[in-house]
Symmetry: C2
Subunit: 337 residues, 2 copies
């Protein structure tokens, strides 16, 4: 029997330390004025001086789901962080909050510092774009949990909103109008079904070019989940947004009702937009019915805003001025109307 | 070719919804006055009204590591949440912060609502014990990522400290005294090595009784990571704690220096405490050298406080009054003394 040390048991503390050094450098590039850097090292510190009156913290946790499997197949690791951060940013944005800071949890079977650096570079880039500090995180080496070359990642965001500016849907009335903003692809939802159709039913690979998509399968399925912060932030102050829904797992079907008060439902005009080619291609290839498609995928709709009828034109113009292509997608109706 | 739906592709939205319902009920039991419940549902909301002057948020992310493998072997899922929450609580406590809220990320290959409920019940219990609201979380079903019956879990905590009460080690001087508080076992570190020794080198199972431990391997290795909040909170206000180190991965060797200013090091009296049987048993069974043991395990020391010599007696008495068994473990010395 020979002596057992930690490296033999599958954990490489030196590789872990090297990964941490690289992560720290990337994180520093995201620091905003609130970050108290160089103070201790067990937790990240963020000063709330002079933020908003009656501050309310809004927090959310998310993963990327099986979109990661496509990243593994393609060997592309620098966009997953954008998916993760932007998903979290949108989840608190729909309640009226802007991001303060973000932390990530990255778990692998064996730490490859280069891959860790690519992943965290994507996280840091998205944090900078959302003016959100990457305040900390955990990088865990867990032998026997993940297959070679695989990992899982989770993100945690904290944002802030003044109590009076919380968007909670409570002012929504029947007759209010729904405005949609386009998604940038599948975002981070429906990947178990999409992968099954693309790789199992159709037998394609990530490098297969698909005419209908004008892209390879990998390019299409790895398009980053976009952030709506820049488009929505200028509208947060005026009170014109009565509710917002981030269209994630469960699609419009399950996410839009989450922002509506009891007794109200919605009517969507399915002719109001052209469903992007990736969804039509998946639906036809997998013979998926409409209800399943709308319950699984965003169908080209990333965010839905609820406004009073009199505010619609102004909101549409403000969104267009921010470079968006919004459209009227439907309206709020009585639940049993 | 038959139609493909989401359940066939490995994701069970109904089981997911059932798990979410059970989690919500458990989370409600942890709510503190800051939680704004019933407001929206995309992110969790926490009002900061009347907390502390010059508030600084302290945040940390952690996992449980390969201690999870022992939980899988033993089929015990209700203590992992305590490990996760208490680890996070201690990580922000050492900077002087008390917890506000917690979020978790739980990922499995296939959601078993009963197991999810056991896991989250542990999270919720530990949150209540630390007066920390379980504000939200993500439960991800990721077919093909995790082996049957396995999962990974990460936690994210946000706490608060008044800027002037941050404990950052900056007041530490040579001659300051180190006070230790006992760990409750391995806590959450060194499990890759511990499992290799117990299960591979010794060929034991979780149900094997070990005389030296007076317990089964599973009982010993699953003892929950304890929280030091109740013991330390009464001491946070007085300024007597100049620094604190949570002894986690890297042991005393790597964690204590993180709280010391440059130019200072520490001297530990290894005769000042009896190393608990589990560490002696692992060391002898695995023929692990002392340096490796102290770099991998907590060796019976869960938390170290740094105090001025004149404050030591008072701090020891306060800790004893809180039911702790603290001891003087060493002192701060010049780095090249």
């Amino acid at each position: 029997m020979s002596a057992v040390d930690y490296r033999q048991s599958g954990v490489n503390i030196d590789a872990g330390n090297e990964a941490v050094r690289r992560i720290r450098a990337l994180a520093r590039g995201t620091y905003t004025p609130g970050v108290l850097s160089g103070v201790g090292s067990f937790g990240g510190l963020f000063a709330l001086d002079g933020t908003v009156p009656e501050p309310v913290l809004v927090s959310s946790a998310d993963g990327v789901g099986t979109k990661l499997k496509v990243a593994f197949m393609a060997g592309v690791h620098d966009t997953i962080g954008e998916d993760l951060v932007n998903h979290c940013v949108n989840d608190i944005l729909v309640q009226g909050a802007r991001p303060l800071f973000f932390l990530d949890y990255l778990a692998t079977g064996a730490l490859a510092p280069d891959v860790v650096e690519q992943i965290v570079a994507g996280v840091a880039r998205a944090c900078r774009e959302n003016r959100c500090a990457l305040l900390g995180g955990e990088t865990a080496e867990m032998p026997g949990f993940y297959q070679a070359g695989e990992y899982d990642i989770a993100g945690f965001i904290v944002g802030i909103v003044s109590r009076s500016a919380i968007i909670d849907g409570s002012r929504i009335e029947a007759g209010d109008q729904l405005i949609a903003l386009p998604s940038s692809g599948l975002h981070t939802n429906g990947y178990s079904l999409a992968r099954r159709i693309a790789f199992d039913v159709l037998g394609l690979g990530v490098d297969s070019y698909v005419d209908e998509l004008g892209a390879t399968v990998g390019e299409e399925l790895l398009r980053p989940h976009r952030s709506y912060l820049a488009a929505i932030e200028p509208l947060l102050a005026g009170g014109r947004i009565r509710g917002m829904a981030h269209i994630t797992g469960g699609g419009i079907t399950e996410n839009l009702p989450r922002t509506l008060p009891e007794g109200l439902h919605f009517s969507i005009d399915r002719g109001s937009w052209t469903i992007p080619p990736v969804f039509a291609w998946l639906q036809a290839s997998g013979r998926v019915d409409d209800a399943e498609m709308f319950r699984t995928f965003n169908m080209g709709v990333g965010l839905i805003l609820v406004c009073a009828p009199g505010d619609v034109d102004g909101v549409l113009r403000a969104l267009e001025a921010a470079g968006e292509r919004p459209w009227r997608i439907g309206e709020v109706v009585p639940a049993h109307g």
